[in-house]
Point group: C2
Chain length 472, copies 2
């Protein structure tokens, strides 16, 4: 419940598959195109808006009499007010604390009583809640969800213990996990000014200070019909959804305008950055690299698709260039890969990572990675490798579209960051259209030292006198 998935980029050693990381913040784009190569291959997605500004997307899926009901809010951790990092995620927890109409637990009890499932998650750019139930119960879900859009009741008796839950969550996920500390430090180093450098869960000392007033102020600001997107996937028609939504969400009073997202823009990077986290608990040293790149929203025309394909060619699985060179051919690494978090409102991260084979130092591994990357434009971008990567990328999205909730997530996350349904539908065609020249151009433009942060996760031998670790 209240599933919070920290974005694992820097700690991530394989590409996230749906199975292992269905809600990863950066997994969205991997699933962002549910259809085959042809535009006509997908279901007939409809969209409309209610009178109060709430956007609605309907994704028909008549294979079984179930529906996935999701509500997305266009606010995530990157919209946390200064000094209140973690408030988006904290409020996500608090949204389960009951309303004027329904006491604590009533909603969750109703879902499970109806044999359904529910979940919620917070990412950098959005927060979402969903339930999967038999189609007959869609209206009930809407009633509950519309009710907690404005009816949330918070008192200190529920806020303080829930804050302890979040603090404990952070302790378990970050404070005691060196690889999570590396992830946080790398994001903080890559984004010196933009809030993507702040962890989704928040900084410990700021979570500690969050209170009921912060939560309610935030709630009133962002939980409005204009700021929400309703996605219903499943055995329903658009007309049914419209009728049910009008009778539930439609009654929520609009605020007059969508709340503003206030975010600082990242300055142009000038310095190559490196960092290391040394801890006795580290069992497996790893090498991580992040590059600051455009996202699918900030990219110049087409660069986002080129970056997605570049990540796939370079580091998408066991047939990728990095894996072949570093694991299969030289045996210097036991794993290697790349990923790109294109699904983001602002400039984002492209990552390369590798795990050294036993006895190989991170310095040696890094030199090898850089050598491989330098040769990549000439060697990796062969027509056949590019074709293979396109096929893999597009096929993955076809598989993911088999899942009703994946489909709902694809549309919800895309719309929440400002993409259109048409862009989602066109994605396979856009990927197909990426040329070798485009791939080489984005590699040359963005995978450069001044845009990079390199991270080492190392086992510390002597934590008390580690000044010399500086040279590591």
């Amino acid at each position: 419940m209240h599933l919070f998935r920290k974005p694992k980029p820097a700690g991530l050693l394989r590409r996230p598959s749906r199975a292992e990381a269905p809600l990863l913040a950066h997994a969205g784009r991997l699933e962002a195109a549910p259809f085959g190569r042809s535009e006509a291959g997908g279901p007939e997605v409809s969209s409309f808006s209610l009178d109060n500004g709430l956007d609605v997307v309907v994704v028909p899926d008549h294979r079984a009499p179930v529906v996935t009901h999701m509500i997305w809010y266009r606010n995530g951790s990157a919209d946390d007010p200064l000094g209140q990092s973690g408030i988006a995620h904290f409020l996500e927890h608090l949204m389960f604390k009951g309303t004027e109409t329904h006491p604590v637990g009533a909603f969750s009890k109703a879902v499970s009583g109806l044999g359904g499932q529910e979940n919620a998650f917070t990412s950098y750019d959005y927060t979402a809640y969903f339930q999967r139930v038999a189609r007959d119960h869609l209206k009930t879900m809407m009633e509950f969800e519309a009710d907690r859009m404005t009816g949330l009741v918070l008192d200190d008796a529920v806020v303080a213990p829930e804050r302890d839950v979040v603090l404990e969550e952070r302790r378990m996920r970050v404070e005691t996990d060196p690889s999570a500390q590396l992830s946080e430090a790398m994001a903080a180093s890559l984004f010196v000014h933009h809030p993507y450098g702040i962890p989704i869960i928040g900084w410990m000392h700021e979570i500690e200070e969050l209170n009921r007033h912060h939560a309610l102020d935030y709630y009133k600001r962002f939980y409005t019909p204009e700021n929400a997107i309703l996605v219903v996937a499943g055995d329903v028609t658009p007309d049914e959804v419209r009728r049910l939504a009008d009778g539930t969400y439609g009654r929520v009073t609009p605020q007059g305008a969508r709340p503003k997202r206030i975010r600082a823009r990242e300055p142009e990077p000038k310095a190559l950055r490196r960092l290391s986290v040394a801890d006795p608990k580290v069992e497996q040293p790893t090498l991580q690299r992040l590059y600051l790149t455009p996202s699918c929203i900030t990219a110049r025309d087409g660069e986002c698709h080129a970056l997605e394909l570049l990540a796939e060619v370079l580091g998408g699985g066991a047939t990728s260039y990095l894996y072949r060179k570093l694991v299969l051919e030289t045996g210097i690494a036991v794993n290697a890969g790349a990923w790109y978090m294109g699904s983001a409102i602002d400039d984002t991260r492209f990552s390369v990572y590798a795990v050294p084979a036993e006895g190989v130092s991170l310095e040696t591994l890094e030199a090898a990675v850089d050598k491989v990357l330098r040769r990549a434009p000439a060697e990796a971008l062969e027509p056949e490798a590019i074709e293979r990567a396109k096929t893999r990328l597009v096929a993955e999205t076809v598989y993911s579209s088999d899942s009703q909730s994946s489909l709902a997530r694809i549309y919800g996350s895309a719309l929440a960051i400002g993409e259109t349904i048409e862009e989602v539908r066109r994605w396979p065609v856009d990927i197909e259209g990426v040329t070798k020249e485009r791939l080489a151009a984005v590699a040359e433009r963005y995978l450069v030292p001044a845009r990079s942060v390199t991270g080492y996760l190392v086992k510390s031998r002597d934590p008390d006198a580690p000044v010399s670790v500086a040279a590591a």
Copy 2:
């Protein structure tokens, strides 16, 4: 005019002396104790407040019939609103653009017409304006300065060209100077969350967006009697200053409360960070190191004085430990030293730097620096070396107290960050009281890898294919 001194820590190769960097943000503490070893050695400093909340400090100096008139505002670049970095400094420029009563240039013309001098500067924690004139003209200065506390008139005709001036200032000082880029990147890397990571002058893309409304909003918020400190040093009595201040500043309407400074606190650092700026323009490679440490405001009891003395012992001039070991004994460096920016409201920076001798790589130099630092607690902290450092530190402040404007700056900057006159007066005694054990304790606690950022400034050989610079 409108002298803006960027804080040069990371580009700084010697300790700032008054002569070369009188207004350096971090030089304040070096000058923060104008008196000899005895508490009774200084002038009888008075302080009082006007009815509207303006704090006043009077520092008598009757050696010549001149006065230094300074007004300090308790807001600096670290108080710039999100996305408006540079506004404190930009407003400092705009403060010379005239008021309802005095057209553009009238104030400056009056100062020079009276044979005086004027200046202004912006730092992280404060902004200040000062004039030095014959004592008879003090009242005129007060009239002008009180007038522009609320009477500033800004129209687009003066704002836009002045923004171009600031942009050009940034271009000259930073964009074309690799060492300034290193400084900025190091601060941004050390302070991942706190605004000390943002340059005083602002990020280029945010300066470009600053406009008249930002400037006026900022002005109205911070330029109030409650937020200001008047410091008058020179040939005056407290009674005279009170009478003149009452008749000028005393007429400014109070706002009811001092404006709030809203700042994020830095999380506990976990990762050792490194970065490099590579540029063909670099003639002299340098090694810089920053450690996140408490400031004189955030320090636990006494740690600030220990850190100040530690910087002096380790790196204060040609008799310091680092200089002896790296320059005189081994010849591996042509310069080496350390400094500490204790004068800051929030957690601050302690720096170690070195410039390699010809043919010595930065890697080699860094390994030598770390070796020297590791040995420092045992070797450097000899009673004699500590005594020498105390004498140097205190003597320096005695020299600086010979300058009337230094005296005014010492009190103004101390009060602007929340120190008391008593703390300033007690400073030499506190420095004298630092023990060897305290020095060793702060070195051990704060000069550790996880609190550090190490920077390399290197000449790039091939700026087009520098992926391998990553290993530098």
